[in-house]
Amino acid sequence: DVKVTQSSRYLVKRTGEKVFLECVQDMDHENMFWYRQDPGLGLRLIYFSYDVKMKEKGDIPEGYSVSREKKERFSLILESASTNQTSMYLCASRSADSSYEQYFGPGTRLTVT
């Protein structure tokens, strides 16, 4: 059974704090993704990674950075959290072979006060 896990389901942080969101997949997938989801805006891609230590900016990378030191783990970092980063954050992974199905983690609802 495929699995993508995220470190927290709910998180409350203060403005200016550094925030780490962790994602782990156990399917040996090459590609991993971080999205944020907001009402009326849908899923927006923040960053993705197609290999260890490789990363590419998505559609809304400002205010975020990522780290992929191991194949199974992809971290999203908010260097200095702001209230407009309050959102649902979803991690996903996908194999680089012909299977295009993308598996999602359960999501982290982050509130920045």
């Binding site: 009326g40 891609l45 993705f48 590419e56 996908r94 199905e101 993308q102 999602f104 983690g105 999501g107």
Partner: protein
């Protein structure tokens, strides 16, 4: 710019009704279209469509792709309250050979008893 447009954005029906959700796309190098269902947490995979005119079916859900019209529909017959969810459409890949899916904003379906 690659884009995926879903309609309607929200829909309220009664149990037993049949619904049709629409997804249209404008992308270069189209390879496949995916449908996901999202309840309270992670989106779960429903269908992947690559060929025009071939219906995919799973229980009361079915979907078909029309490459000429650059669109897909998702049908749900005899709806149940458990079908209440956001239905997401995504297209893979966008132009440039990138590995990222392009998502629509989703259709929020509410099925009332």
């Amino acid at each position: 710019e690659d884009k995926v447009v879903q309609s309607p954005l929200s829909l309220v029906v009664h149990e037993g009704d049949t619904v049709t959700l629409n997804c249209s796309y404008e992308v270069t190098n189209f390879r496949s279209l995916l449908w996901y269902k999202q309840e309270k947490k992670a989106p779960t995979f429903l269908f992947m469509l690559t060929s025009s005119g071939i219906e995919k079916k799973s229980g009361r859900l079915s979907s078909i792709l029309d490459k000429k019209e650059l669109s897909s529909i998702l049908n749900i017959t005899a709806t149940q309250t458990g079908d209440s969810a956001i239905y997401l459409c995504a297209v893979f890949p966008p132009g440039g050979g990138s590995e990222k899916l392009v998502f629509g904003k989703g259709t929020k379906l509410t099925v009332n008893p």
